[in-house]
Symmetry: C2
Subunit: 338 residues, 2 copies
C-alpha cells in the first residue's frame, strides 16, 4: 500500500508537472507578445529573427550571453518633437535658474530662452546649445542632478499632448524590449542623449537598468566635501555618442557587437552598419516616422531625427524600415486610457 | 470519483512541491557557499552583510536592482606578482613583434625587454610603460586584439607557478562572486587594467560578462575597410581607471553607487570610500596579501598593489581587511588538482 501510494504520488506529480509545463508552453505560443504591432512583414521579420537566433537546432542560433540588442532613445523609444526632450529640460532649467543669473537677461542664447524666442534659440546653433547644456547640466553633484531630472519629469508636461515626457514612449517598442528580454536578450540604450539625463527613469519606463544605458556625457570629478566624497559635474564635454562614435561607445561600454540594433536617424547609421556587418544572422531596424496624425511625420528635412542615408541605404543593407503609421496599432501606452 | 481524483492530484501536487521547495530551502542553509573561507570574523562579516541586505524584514534591506558590487582585478581577483600580468603580456608581445621592429634592438625601453634586463625596463618608468603599452595594444582592430589576448592566455605560463595566468585567480573570491550573484547582486570589475585585456576571458573565469568589466582604455576609431566597418585601436590613452577616477568610472559605466566594493591597493581607496560613504549598510573589503608561502606577502613597500592608506585607514572607515594567510584555506582553484 505504502509503495503503491508513493508510486501514485510520483506519477501524479509527473503528470501534473507535464500538464503544467505543456500549458505554459502552449500559452507562450498563443499569447501575442507584441499586440501593438499589426500583423505584417515587419512584425513577421522580427519574430522570425528572434525565433531563429534562439532555436538551438537552427544554424543561426546565438548563445544567450551574445544576444545583445542596442536601441537609440530619441525618436526610437520616445518622441523627439517639437524638439529633443532633453532640450525642453534645458529650456525649463534656464527659466528656473534665471533668478540666480541676472546676466542672462541680456546674454544670448539665454535671453532668447527667457523671451521664448525659439527662432533665436535655434539660431544660436551647436555652440549655443552646448553653452546652455553646460549651464544647466554642470556645477552640481551627480546625486543632485539625479534629483533635478526626477523632479522635472514629475512636473513638466509636453506642450502638445499635456503628458509627462516619459509617458510619450512607444508602446510597440516597449513590447519589443520585453519580447527580446523574454528570449534571453540583454537590451541596451545607445543614445546621443545624456546618460545621466536618461538613467534616473529608464529602469521604471523601459526595464533598462542604469548600467545598460550608454549615451553622451560630461566630465565629473571626485571631491571630498566635509570629509564625504562627491562627484561634481564639470562644464566640460567627455563624449558625444553619435554616428561614428556609437560603435566606439558600444565597444567601450558593452564590449560585444550587438546582433540587433534599432534607431531612427542617420545618427544611428554606423551603429546599424556595425551591428549588421557582424557574422551570423543580424537585424537592423529603423523606426520611420510616418504618422502625422498620432505622432509626427518627418525624415529627410527634419532637424531632429534627420533620416537620409538610412532611407537611401536601408534596402542595400537589408535593414527593416518600420512604418509607424501602418505597422503600429498603438503609439503611446496612455492611448488605452481613453 | 472524478472529483475525488482531481482533489487527490491537486493535494499530492501541492504536497510534493512543498516537500521539494522545503528540501531546496534547507539545502541552501546547510551547504556552505564559501568553503574556501575559514570560519572566522571575516567570513562572518561577509555573510552577515549579505544576509541583512537581502532580508526583506531587515532595516538594511536593499532591492535587487541596487545590489551592485564592484571588484578590482589585479591583486584582488587574480595575482599580480612578479608584476602585473598585463605587463607580462606586453613583454611577451614585444619579443614576438621584435622581428618587425629592428629599431627596438637599440631603442629603450624595448632593448631592455629584448635583453631581459628587468631593472632597465623598470627604470624606464611610467613613460616607458606607456610607450610599450601603446606599441603592443594599438594598431590593430578590436577583433584582432581579442584574438591576440586569447592566444597569449592559451599559451603563456607564469614564471613561478608554470600555470596559465588566468588560472591564478583566487578560489575564495570566485566563491564570493558566486555567493553574491546567488543573492541577487550584479557584480562588476573596476580595474586599473585594460578593459579589452580583461574582457576576452572574464566571463569564462569569473562569470562576469564583458559589459560588466570597467577598466582603463585607449581610443578607438570607426573605419570602413573594403566596405566593412572596423574599430581601430589608436596609440592614445582614453581613460586611466585608478584611485580618484574609479568612482568617476563607476558613475559613468554603472550609474549607481555600489553597496559592496573589494580591492587590495591604494588604487582602490577612493572606490571603497565612495562605496561605503553611501546611505544604508555598505561593505568595503581589502584583500591583504599576507601569505608568502602560498602566494606573495606585500603591502606598504610593493610597486604592485601598494597598500598604505588602506591599511592605516581601514579601521576608521570600517573596512574589512581580509587576511589571505588566515582567512583562506585555498588560494588557487588548481590546488585541488594536487
Amino acid at each position: 500500500m505504502m509503495k503503491h501510494t508513493k508510486l501514485l504520488i510520483t506519477k501524479t506529480l509527473i503528470l501534473s508537472l507535464t500538464l503544467f509545463l505543456t500549458a505554459c508552453a502552449s500559452n507562450k505560443s498563443t499569447v501575442d507578445p507584441m499586440p501593438s504591432w499589426n500583423e505584417g512583414s515587419s512584425k513577421q521579420r522580427i519574430v522570425e529573427f528572434v525565433s531563429s537566433v534562439t532555436d538551438t537546432n537552427s544554424a543561426d542560433f546565438v548563445p544567450q550571453g551574445k544576444r545583445i540588442a542596442t536601441f537609440d532613445n530619441d525618436g526610437t523609444l520616445w518622441s523627439e518633437k517639437p524638439t529633443y526632450f532633453q532640450l525642453m529640460f534645458i529650456l525649463d532649467r534656464i527659466k528656473i535658474m534665471a533668478s540666480e543669473h541676472p546676466e542672462w537677461k541680456t546674454t544670448q542664447p539665454f535671453q532668447a530662452v527667457l523671451e521664448n524666442d525659439m527662432a533665436a534659440v535655434k539660431a544660436a546653433g551647436e555652440h549655443g546649445l552646448l553653452e546652455m547644456a553646460m549651464a544647466t547640466h554642470s556645477g552640481m553633484t551627480t546625486d543632485e542632478f539625479e534629483v533635478i531630472v526626477k523632479d522635472w519629469l514629475a512636473t513638466a508636461r509636453h506642450p502638445a499632448t499635456g503628458e509627462a515626457y516619459n509617458a510619450m514612449v512607444y508602446q510597440p517598442m516597449l513590447e519589443l524590449l520585453d519580447y527580446l528580454r523574454a528570449n534571453g536578450f540583454k537590451v541596451f540604450i545607445v543614445s546621443g542623449g545624456g546618460m545621466e539625463f536618461m538613467r534616473p527613469w529608464t529602469e521604471a519606463v523601459y526595464g533598462i537598468p542604469p548600467d545598460q544605458v550608454v549615451g553622451s556625457s560630461i566630465e565629473t570629478q571626485y571631491e571630498l566635501r566635509d570629509g564625504k566624497p562627491v562627484l561634481v559635474r564639470l562644464p566640460e564635454l567627455h563624449f558625444i555618442d553619435d554616428n561614428v562614435t556609437k560603435p566606439v561607445a558600444i565597444n567601450r561600454f558593452i564590449g560585444q557587437r550587438p546582433i540587433l540594433a534599432g534607431g531612427n536617424s542617420d545618427g544611428d547609421f554606423e551603429m546599424l552598419k556595425w551591428t549588421t556587418a557582424g557574422n551570423g544572422k543580424r537585424l537592423g531596424l529603423i523606426v520611420h516616422h510616418t504618422d502625422a496624425k498620432r505622432e509626427w511625420a518627418y525624415d529627410r528635412e527634419s532637424s531632429e531625427g534627420r533620416l537620409v542615408r538610412g532611407l537611401d541605404e536601408a534596402d542595400k543593407n537589408g535593414w527593416l524600415l518600420v512604418d509607424m503609421a501602418n505597422d503600429w496599432n498603438v503609439i503611446y501606452p496612455y492611448e488605452s486610457r481613453n
